[in-house]
């Protein structure tokens, strides 16, 4: 049994279907990249995997000891967050909220967990700084630390490097790769196909051509060749 098994999933808003008959699995330790053109349903798939939205049809099964709320999430930044008066420590600690249930305050273990997450992301020095004063890369690290407080099993990352400069982008990818090596399963949405092919173990391509398989198989598939070619053309243009 895999962590996540998606069977014949249909996605969309209201009754308008964007993606049909989606099938894929995610095993513990995988690094899955979800690629596709804008509007192909990547973010909708993410929301459905997080159970923020109901699928139109099909099933998402979780197994292998994974609980539904043990999926960490690195969202795209919202407008509200850009002007939010909160310290780094407060935000990272809020990642533990899911563990609390009805308990009103954080326990010692949870505070320790938040501290370790901040250390792992190299942001301990920033812990009392205000979130909105940080750079884009630092903000992403804060949100990643928060996601690590919620779970050490699966992380869903929604365009984690959008808006970051090339140097910080590389650092971010290396950080994520490091987490994957430590055993964290990564599911990442990206439109950076070159990076997806470099770092991921599996690729899910949605859009006109749907493809799911290992990175090696993707590079040899028609969908992959076409998309890579387009992406390269886009970079040149």
């Amino acid at each position: 049994m895999a962590f996540l098994t998606v069977r014949d999933l249909s996605l969309g808003y209201d009754s308008h279907t964007i993606v049909d008959h989606l099938n894929f699995t995610v095993q513990a330790g995988d690094y899955l990249c979800i690629v596709g053109e804008n509007g192909s349903g990547k973010s909708t798939l993410m929301k459905t995997l997080l159970r923020l939205q109901e699928p139109i049809g099909g099933q998402i099964l979780i197994g292998d000891g994974l609980k539904a709320n043990e999926i960490g999430y690195l969202p795209q930044q919202t407008v509200i967050q850009k002007d939010f008066p909160a310290s780094v420590k407060e935000i990272v600690l809020s990642g533990c909220q899911g563990r609390c249930g009805l308990r009103p305050f954080y326990s010692k273990e949870e505070k320790q967990l938040a501290k370790e997450s901040m250390e792992r992301m190299g942001i301990t020095a920033l812990s009392s700084r205000c979130y909105r004063d940080l750079s884009g890369g630092q903000q992403q690290r804060v949100l990643l630390a928060r996601a690590l407080c919620a779970t050490r099993k699966v992380l869903l990352l929604d365009e984690p490097v959008s808006g970051l400069d090339p140097k910080v982008t590389t650092e971010m990818y290396e950080l994520i790769e490091g987490l994957n090596r430590e055993g964290v399963t990564i599911i990442m949405i990206s439109h950076d196909v070159a990076a997806a092919v470099r770092y991921a173990s599996h690729i899910l391509h949605i859009g006109d051509h749907v493809f799911f398989g290992t990175k090696e198989a993707y590079l040899n598939s028609d969908a992959g060749k076409l998309f890579l070619l387009q992406a390269k053309g886009g970079e040149r243009a």
């Binding site: 539904a68 999430y73 008066p85």
Partner: protein, 281 residues
């Protein structure tokens, strides 16, 4: 002037007004930060109009304790407005405008048609802009206010971390197992209670000011959620306290004096934030 103040403070009704005013200011400032950040501040405005409509019905029915009618109606509207805000099909702000203006119009209409009082425009004016009723409180009303305020503060402290999580990132909170909808509901209910409480103090048109100004002032000065919350509570209490004292000494209307002090403090905080922010960079 001090002697005059000491003289006034000997009267129980002045002490009641101060107690109630400070408690209401404290409660209303607590959730202000959340409301401003969640872009919910207009809900407070909408609800206060609903509360006005409910108040009008209570006045017509000649209820001895209008709280019994106004509180449930406002709470129900809060829940409905929140639902409307989450519904993508009807735009949240349009739904709020509909409900709030409708309630305002019906309230005035009902008061006009079934008027039992001889001074109608005086009644309406005092419901909208706050009245001297804060100076005519009896001990029972003071106790009711104390109990509700303590309840609001306790709920806020117990759910502080959850309110923070839901305010900062609702999607993340939901995805990791926090019942965000439940806490949104809780926030809406608490807001409704606060608004009904605050109607006595500043009237239904000025309530939003009491909720929003301390939070905005505090956000100019502080940079963590906890310090912003504490600062806005302190500012709100200080403003309400001095506002009531000024209004007693100068004979000005209580509600608008408090709001005027709030506005002045906001301007000060804005300037201080500019200067400090410039120095920091």
């Amino acid at each position: 002037m001090i002697e005059k103040l000491v003289l006034y403070l000997q009267y129980p009704f002045v002490r009641y007004a101060l107690i109630v005013g400070v408690l209401i200011a404290l409660c209303s400032s607590l959730l202000g930060v959340t409301l401003v950040l969640k872009r919910f501040s207009f809900i407070g405005d909408g609800l206060s109009h609903v509360a006005f409509g409910a108040m009008a019905i209570a006045a017509v029915l000649n209820l001895s304790n209008d709280m019994l009618l106004v509180l449930p109606i406002t709470v129900i509207s809060a829940v409905l407005l929140l639902r409307a805000g989450q519904n993508a099909k009807i735009k949240g702000d349009a739904a709020i405008a509909m409900i709030s203006v409708g309630a305002l119009a019906f309230g005035y209409l009902i008061m006009n048609i079934f008027s039992t009082s001889s001074n109608l425009s005086g009644d309406v004016c005092s419901t909208l802009f706050g009245s001297t009723s804060i100076l005519t409180l009896n001990p029972k009303e003071v106790w009711l206010c104390v109990v509700l305020s303590v309840l609001v503060v306790v709920v806020f402290v117990l759910f502080y971390n959850k309110i923070f999580a839901v305010t900062f990132d609702e999607d993340f909170a939901k995805a990791t197992g926090t019942k965000a909808n439940l806490y949104n509901l809780l926030i809406a209910i608490v807001i409704a209670v606060i608004i009904v409480l605050a109607m006595n103090l500043v009237g239904s048109l000025l309530i939003s000011a009491l909720v929003i100004f301390p939070a905005l002032s505090a956000m100019r000065l502080f940079r963590s959620f906890k310090s912003v919350t504490v600062c806005s509570a302190v500012l709100s209490v200080v403003c309400a306290f001095s506002g009531i004292l000024i209004s007693i000494l100068a004979g000005t209307p209580v509600g608008s004096t408090i709001v005027a002090v709030d506005v002045a403090v906001f301007l000060l905080c804005y300037l201080a934030g500019k200067i400090l922010g410039g120095a920091r960079k």
